[in-house]
Structure formats: structure tokens, C-alpha cells
Symmetry: C2
Subunit: 355 residues, 2 copies
């Protein structure tokens, strides 16, 4: 790559990452979690790139968090050796792959039912046991045991299996649920302590609550992904500024069919149709009163009716997406830059790894 290449030279649409903002986001989050006296384990779902995860480890992260085994395999191949997969592992061939990975890296997974624990127990070996965290539902309504009693019972089942090692508790809470997380951990720890079952890890997470990491004193680990790039959803929480958004999609206005309508060459295949409770599909920082009020697959529909200044056909505009993680997953490549000078263009290493 020539040093002289600039974002202005690239064909739209493309996903641009400002490395200076990225580095600042990584440093700030690590400082916040360090201040809470706990370890930080970034979730790679947001970037899916060893290049960015290496920056996170260099800043002090203890390891990485993946959501799927196929992602973990990509990162193990890239040299990462401490990986948590926060997913219930089910299926004969998947468990074979999991055991192969457990022989290569320091691996931890989660479980929330006797069925999952039973499958793990049968697939592993006491010579190289698998570390398992019990996932707890503290109100988000996804996976996770529902009560401290159920968490304790599942921890006992794990402990009873020679091929598994009970390693602790994990939750993915809703924002501002610190009190409930702390209470769930406390109640479970009390039961575990009575039974003399050690529980070294109590893991919580989520970017929206990152700056409140200290509000769960029983936590030992924090996980977050989105903070690394940030997006319009995190902006809406008030925790960050537009200038903290490292990811911007560059697009071109390809049609101005009417006075109040602009059409971009970036649609749902670039921006994704994730709304996350927001109105509109992204923010145009240069046209803050414009709204992306609809998406076709290759067209972004922009309503200009509240704009005084309006973009012209052929003009390039930037978009801060609603949800940065899904944009990464749609892109073939991501363009890194400093002040508009391209530093590198990387294929998204773990894109589409859903199995």
C-alpha cells in the first residue's frame, strides 16, 4: 500500500476506522476497568480482527471473549491463547472441535443447563478438563439459569464431572442492572461457600454499563465489545460523544430524485437494518438534521426535509451506524486511517463465523 492513499481515493461504500479514536477508546476502557480493580476481557464480536485484539491485549486485557467456536478458532490461529466462548456448546462434531481447541489454548465456555453440562462432560477428558462458567440470567431474558439455587445446582453438577472444572459465574446484564448482578452473584456465592466450592471468576459486561464497572464489587472480570468502535446506540446512552465513534461508513449520494430525498449507495447490506430501538438507520454527522428513514439492500433513503444545507449528487457523506458489530460482519474489508490517510485495509478475519 502506498503511503499516499487517502480515504478520499477509495470507492464507496466502505467502512472506515479512525485509529486515533480506536486507540483512545481502548486506553480509556482499560483504565476504567483497571480502576474497578478487576480484569478486562474484550469481546471480539465488534471488530473480528486479530489486529484490534492485539491492541486490546497490549493495553492490558487479560484475554478475549468470542461468541462462537468458529470465531475462537480464527483467533487461536492468530496466536491468542486465553479465550472465553460465551455460548452453550451442543452437538457431537462441535464438541470434537471444542476439545481440539482446549488442547491448544486456555479455554473457557459457559453452560446454563444440565443438558449442556452433560454433553460437555461426556466429550472431555480428566487429563485436560474444560473450564466452565455457569451463565446467569440477571434480567436480560436470553440464556442463563434463573435463580441462585439453579446456578449452585449446576455448579455442583460441573464439579462432579472429572472432565470439567467449575470456574465461576457469568452474566450479560441489561444496562443499569448492577444491583441485580451483585445480588445474584452474592446469593450464589453464599451457597457455593457453604458447600466449599471455589468460584474464582464472576464475569459481567456490556459497553453501556462499562463506566459503572465498579458498581458490582463481587465481579472479578468485565467483558465489552462495542466500546472499541462505538456507535449511534452508545451515543444515545449519553456516555460518549460523536468524536468517540471510531467507525464511519463512507457513502455517495447517487440520487436526489426530489427536493427532500437523497439516496445513498449504502443500504442494509452495508449499514444493516438493526434499529436497536432508535429511529432511523444512522447519523450523518455533516447533516445532523437528515434522517436515514429507510434502507433497501443497496440504497439508503435520506429525508432532508429538516435540513437547511443539502448534499448534492456525487457528494460523499459519512454515516455513524446504529450498531457497529453488525456492520463489521457485513463488510468484506475494513479501512483503517489516521486523519484520512489510509494505514491499512484488512479483510474481516472472523466475518460470518456463526458455527
Amino acid at each position: 500500500m502506498e503511503q499516499a492513499m487517502r480515504l478520499d481515493d477509495l470507492e464507496t461504500p466502505f467502512v472506515a476506522i479512525d485509529e486515533a479514536v480506536l486507540d483512545a477508546n481502548i486506553a480509556r476502557a482499560q483504565t476504567v476497568v483497571d480502576s474497578a480493580g478487576i480484569t478486562f476481557r474484550p469481546h471480539i464480536k465488534t471488530h473480528k480482527l486479530p489486529f484490534v485484539a492485539q491492541k486490546q491485549i497490549a493495553a492490558g486485557a487479560s484475554g478475549i471473549n468470542c461468541q462462537k467456536l468458529s470465531e475462537a478458532e480464527v483467533f487461536a490461529d492468530a496466536g491468542f491463547d486465553d479465550i472465553l466462548i460465551t455460548f452453550n456448546m451442543i452437538g457431537a462434531s462441535r464438541l470434537v472441535r471444542l476439545a481440539t481447541l482446549n488442547a491448544r489454548v486456555k479455554l473457557t465456555v459457559t453452560a446454563d443447563s444440565p443438558e449442556v453440562v452433560g454433553g460437555l462432560g461426556a466429550a472431555f477428558d480428566a487429563a485436560n478438563p474444560l473450564a466452565v462458567l455457569v451463565e446467569c440470567d440477571t434480567g436480560a431474558g436470553r440464556c442463563g439459569v434463573q435463580t441462585a439455587q439453579a446456578a449452585f445446582a449446576l455448579a455442583q453438577e460441573i464439579t462432579a464431572m472429572p472432565s470439567l472444572r467449575f470456574h465461576g459465574l457469568l452474566t450479560y446484564p441489561l444496562p443499569n442492572f448492577e444491583t441485580r448482578v451483585q445480588a445474584f452473584f452474592a446469593a450464589t456465592l453464599a451457597l457455593l461457600e457453604q458447600a466449599a466450592v471455589p468460584c474464582p471468576i464472576r464475569s459481567t459486561g456490556g459497553t453501556p454499563s462499562l463506566f459503572n464497572a465498579a458498581l458490582v464489587p463481587l465481579a472479578t472480570e468485565y467483558r465489552a465489545g462495542t466500546y472499541v468502535y462505538n456507535d449511534r446506540k452508545i451515543l444515545s446512552s449519553g456516555a460518549i460523544e460523536v468524536t468517540d465513534c471510531a467507525m464511519q461508513i463512507w457513502a455517495t449520494v447517487v440520487s436526489r430524485a426530489t427536493e427532500n430525498r437523497a439516496i445513498l449507495d449504502a443500504g442494509s447490506k452495508t449499514l444493516s437494518s438493526d434499529l436497536l430501538g432508535l429511529s432511523g438507520y444512522g447519523l450523518l454527522p455533516d447533516y445532523p438534521n437528515a434522517t436515514i428513514d429507510g434502507l433497501s439492500e443497496e440504497h439508503g433513503h435520506v429525508d432532508l426535509s429538516h435540513c437547511s444545507k443539502r448534499p448534492t449528487i456525487g457528494e460523499r457523506v459519512r454515516v455513524i451506524p446504529n450498531h457497529t458489530c453488525v456492520v463489521t460482519n457485513l463488510a468484506e474489508t475494513v479501512v483503517f486511517h489516521r486523519d484520512g490517510a489510509v494505514t491499512q485495509i484488512l479483510p474481516v478475519a472472523a466475518r460470518g463465523r456463526v458455527w
Copy 2:
């Protein structure tokens, strides 16, 4: 690939295409458009696979329709020689690529403004002129000139350029807008006829209105994509049955945290968050009273409260997605089968080609 491999042997989540249903969908659509006495040009956005487009051509399609130049390049490399790109082409390097493609295949593009026509005119050469259709907005509110007078004026601008060839009119209408499409074409054709400007192509399209292709007598060409696989959105129109849906996503129930909740290992990275005005993110044909009421990136949240029969942890279920095109664009590979026996697994050749 071994002949004996079956869908049951594959790890979830994956995208399965029933070849018998696919072949029937292709044959039926071709018959409908043939009966209307016009040509059929399938849109490749739904499958993004030369393998499927070859079936469409073999059934009688006149050529293919792409949405982006990068898709057209993939299909030209695969041997397709009659390609329509329904997009305004803007930008110096893109126009160079477009001219390269025009030297290789019979190429047609669309335009809806003097700015786009001016750019095309300057980038092409009278020795190998580019065929251009004027895109008309017949009510869908995306790209397209707004009136017959504007269409006529733009056709004259194209005709005046030695490097371009005015080839006709194109619209992407809303469903049941046949009367408006016919009226727009009629009014524009009247103006063109007065000026003795030939207009060989009048192209309309859309899967929801496919069975009404005969209702626009002035049309010469029909374009459609989704019909090839079908999806829950087309199902909701009443034009097809569940058995006409060639695409199903196979997923596994990984959690039953509560009596009324099942969590699948397929989330928005597999099913996409496209709602298209529907409620819920897909249909479970084996559990028709279940609703996929939420998606995380890797988790599908299923509400079982209206189900008498309920899936167990580890059970594999099938999902008919809301929008088949975006599922294709998310997938690394697609699995073709006949009665559950895998016939081939293909990487999605034009996935992510948005530029």
C-alpha cells in the same frame, strides 16, 4: 463430497436450499412471464450464485440483473454476457471499471439525473457506447425521475451523447402498482414517439407482483429476484405456500431457560434483523405457533407461550426467514439438497459485493 452426506450431518446454523423447490420456482416464474409475452431478467441479489443464475438462463431468462457493479463483475467472470445493473453509476474509478465491463459483455445501466448521465457520457466512447435506461419512480419513492416529462428530457440528453445509447425505461414499482406503471410508460412513450426517439425496453419487476406481469401491457421485460427462493414476506402476500420456500435456515435449540423461552444458535448474523413490516424474525414450520420475538447477533429468542408442543435442548429446528436476499448476503456458504441429501455446498460468490 460424499453422496451420503445429509443435512442432518451438518453443524448448525446453516442455510439450506431445496433444489426441487428451487427448480419449480424457476420454471413457474418463467412460464408466468412467458405467458405475458415479455422477456424475463432475474435479479441475482437473492442467490448471488452463478450456479442458480445458470438454471434461470437455462429456463429461458434473457439475461441477468445486478444491483452493483462488483456483482456484475463476478457474474461476467462466470461467463454471463447480458447484464443489467440497476444503479446510478458515479465516481471516476467506478466509471473506468464500468467501461472495462462494457467491453466484455452486453451491458445496460440506469440513470435518473443529468449529473449521472453527464458522468456516463464523459467516461464512455462512441466506438462502444453504453446502453442506458431512464429509471422512473412510479411511487416506490427511491431513485427515479418523477414525471414522464422528466423521463423524456433525460432520454433526450442520453440520445444527444454519442458515447451513450438511450435504450428505454425502467421502474421498480410497489406491489399492485401496475396501473401507475402502465400510465407512466404510456405518457413517456407518447413524448418519445413525437420526437421519434425509439424506446425498445420498458422494464418493470418485483416478486410480489410477478403473477400480475401481464397487467402492464407496455412492458417488454420483467425483473424479479426473491421468487427463486421465496420467504416469509412473499408468503404473507398470499401468492405462495410454505412448500414454495426453497430456503430454510437450520438451527439448534441451545437453551430453554424458562418454560416459554427457547434460544436458537441463529441470530441476526444468520437471519438478519429485516422485519419488512412483519411481526417476528422468521417462521418455524414445525412450531407454527412459536414466534421469533427477538434477535441478538448469535441468539434467536423464541417465545413458546402459544405452543402445545415445545422443542427440547439440542433439537434442530428450521426457520423460513423474513427476507431471503439478506440471509444469502450474510452466509459464507449455502447448502443445496434434494430430500435432505446434500448435493453441493457453495460459497456465496457475490456476497458482500456492495461497491
